[in-house]
């Protein structure tokens, strides 16, 4: 009954509303977006070259969101921690940093719904046995997956960068497996739900960002990832 009353009384109006009117301000205005480097999601610009727009999948998405609102984007590069502090004080409207839904920032800022889930998988040459126990697997040195590999009884071979087309088993993000000429062994080491961050309590703005993210086509995001990966390489 309460729900019905509210639906009737606010019918047609914006719902939910912002506590601080962010959506009304950024529409046809300027979105202040914090960017922390996290290739290929975000590629921050060179500090010696501050006028250059940052790159990466999420910056492309943000630009598209801004276009749909008739807004321009003001990029604010920085470290993740300082950007989050600025976001929680509403100095920024959005932060992109290849964030994970499990991020500890959840306490200070609002994380959007996840728009894509990526897995770190053990990729193997086509036709090779999928059982990786006892096999040598290339993995980026110092990554969490290097430790997770030992749980699978595989031998981790740490390398500074997994080559573009590995000639044996390697740990790769799932969207890169086919491009690397390998197949998914079925062993998924970790999973990341990708989100962006908005100021807490700006629920109309958050809903607008989330609606945009939910309408994204995952295949298209995968394409953007590959494009950015190649550009970054």
């Amino acid at each position: 009954m309460v729900v019905a009353l509210v639906v009737v009384s606010v019918g047609g109006c914006q719902w939910p509303r912002d506590a601080n009117g962010t959506l009304d301000r950024v529409r046809e205005g300027t979105i202040k977006v914090g960017v922390a480097h996290h290739s290929p999601w975000t590629i921050a610009n060179d500090s010696r070259n501050p006028d250059q727009a940052p790159g990466g999948v999420e910056t492309v998405l943000v630009q598209r969101l801004a276009d749909s609102l008739g807004a321009r984007v003001q990029w604010v590069p920085g470290g993740e921690a300082e950007l989050m502090a600025a976001l929680s004080e509403r100095s920024l409207d959005l932060v992109v940093a290849g964030l994970d839904a499990e991020s500890p920032w959840e306490q200070k800022v609002a994380l959007t719904t996840d728009y894509l889930t990526t897995d770190m998988v053990v990729a193997i040459p086509a036709g090779a046995p999928t059982d990786i126990a006892g096999k040598r697997v290339l993995v980026r040195e110092g990554s969490a997956e290097a430790a997770l590999l030992s749980d699978e009884d595989a031998t981790a071979v740490p390398v500074s960068e997994v080559p573009e087309r590995p000639d044996g088993a390697a740990v790769l993000p799932n969207w890169l497996v086919n491009a690397a000429g390998l197949t998914d062994s079925g062993t998924h080491l970790s999973s990341t739900d990708h989100v962006m961050a908005v100021p807490p309590g700006e629920n109309a703005w958050q809903s607008t960002v989330e609606r945009f993210l939910l309408e994204l086509d995952p295949d298209e995001v995968h394409r953007l990832l590959l494009d950015n990966h190649r550009a970054g390489a």
């Binding site: 729900v3 009117g21 800022v109 700006e202 629920n203 809903s207």
Partner: protein
């Protein structure tokens, strides 16, 4: 001639009510276990929902205390426990009262902190089976659904508690009331958040929790007082119980009694105590008369369990 009352049996109609109370408490436990599970699934980032979840966990304390005490309360007297096990009910009552107080205090402190720190609850969108909707709506739906059983259970328990003189049951009914009130406050808070009023959630919670704290303090005070052997009071309106006066009257009505004094305490749902009587000089068959009186006293009320009647020469008041 059983002067040692080693066990207490409820009168048949009260026993039936008690069985209903036990069933109700099992339903309460089942309901809260389900509510805790469902809430855990939709918790999200909302502090208000997290508070509702903690409340539901605390709300398990009174029914569990009731059911545990129910196992012990009728155990017969043994060498280790010469006074029986009725006090287990008083302990359960204290546990329930404390749970209520902690619940209110927890929500109050948490809401004040949220308000002072200017915490703004984010509630975004959720995708349910391909339909995108504001997460606030399913949150409100879950809260409203959990309110209904809490209201019904609470009402049934309040009625039974008065009939059974059962304070644990009464404290649990208060807990159910606290639960649906906070859920109602959370609904208002979520609607407020949707309207862009970030403080609405905290303010609604503060008002409700202040009420629960008051309730919890009153109940805890009663529980402690009962353990201190305060004179019996009625369950629902907390007035001095009329029974001690009635029993004194009954003793004074005996032609051979010139003066009488009684003290009673509550041990859970039963009364125990002592009575001093001054018999007329040269009363014959005094032992028999005393025994008959003690039987009459016991039969005067179903809660009157154990009373020692002692003849004295004079009562010093």
């Amino acid at each position: 001639m059983a002067a040692i009352h080693d066990s207490f049996e409820l009168p048949p109609e009260k026993a039936a009510l008690h069985r209903r109370a036990v069933r109700l408490e099992w339903w309460t436990v089942a309901f809260f276990v389900v509510a805790i599970t469902v809430l855990a699934a939709v918790l999200g980032q909302s502090q208000a929902m997290k508070a509702a979840w903690v409340e539901d966990i605390l709300a398990l304390a009174p029914p569990i205390a009731f059911l545990v005490a129910d196992r012990y309360r009728n155990r017969p007297v043994d060498a280790e426990h010469p006074y029986g096990h009725h006090r287990s009910v008083a302990i359960a009552f204290l546990a329930s009262a404390l749970a209520l107080l902690v619940l209110g205090g927890y929500i109050l402190i948490e809401s004040v902190l949220r308000l002072v720190q200017g915490e703004r609850p984010p509630i975004g969108l959720i995708d349910i089976l391909g339909h995108t909707m504001w997460l606030g709506w399913p949150m409100i739906a879950v809260l409203l659904v959990t309110m209904v059983p809490a209201i019904l259970l609470g009402r049934a328990k309040t009625k039974l508690a008065a009939q059974l003189h059962d304070k644990v049951l009464y404290a649990d009914a208060e807990m159910n009331r606290a639960d649906w009130l906070t859920a109602g406050a959370a609904v208002l808070g979520i609607i407020g958040i949707g309207a862009g009023l970030w403080w609405a959630d905290a303010v609604a919670a503060i008002i409700i929790s202040a009420d629960i704290v008051r309730d919890g303090l009153r109940t805890t005070r009663t529980a402690v007082a009962d353990l201190m052997d305060r004179r019996p009071r009625t369950v629902t309106d907390n007035q001095p119980h009329p029974l001690p006066a009635q029993l004194t009257e009954l003793a004074l009505d005996q032609p051979w009694v010139t003066d009488a004094w009684i003290r009673l305490r509550e041990e859970g749902h039963v009364f125990v105590g002592e009575m001093l009587v001054v018999p007329k000089p040269d009363t014959d068959d005094l032992v028999k008369r005393l025994e008959r009186l003690s039987h009459q006293l016991r039969d005067a009320d179903w809660r009157m369990h154990d009373i020692a009647v002692m003849p004295v020469l004079k009562i010093h008041r």
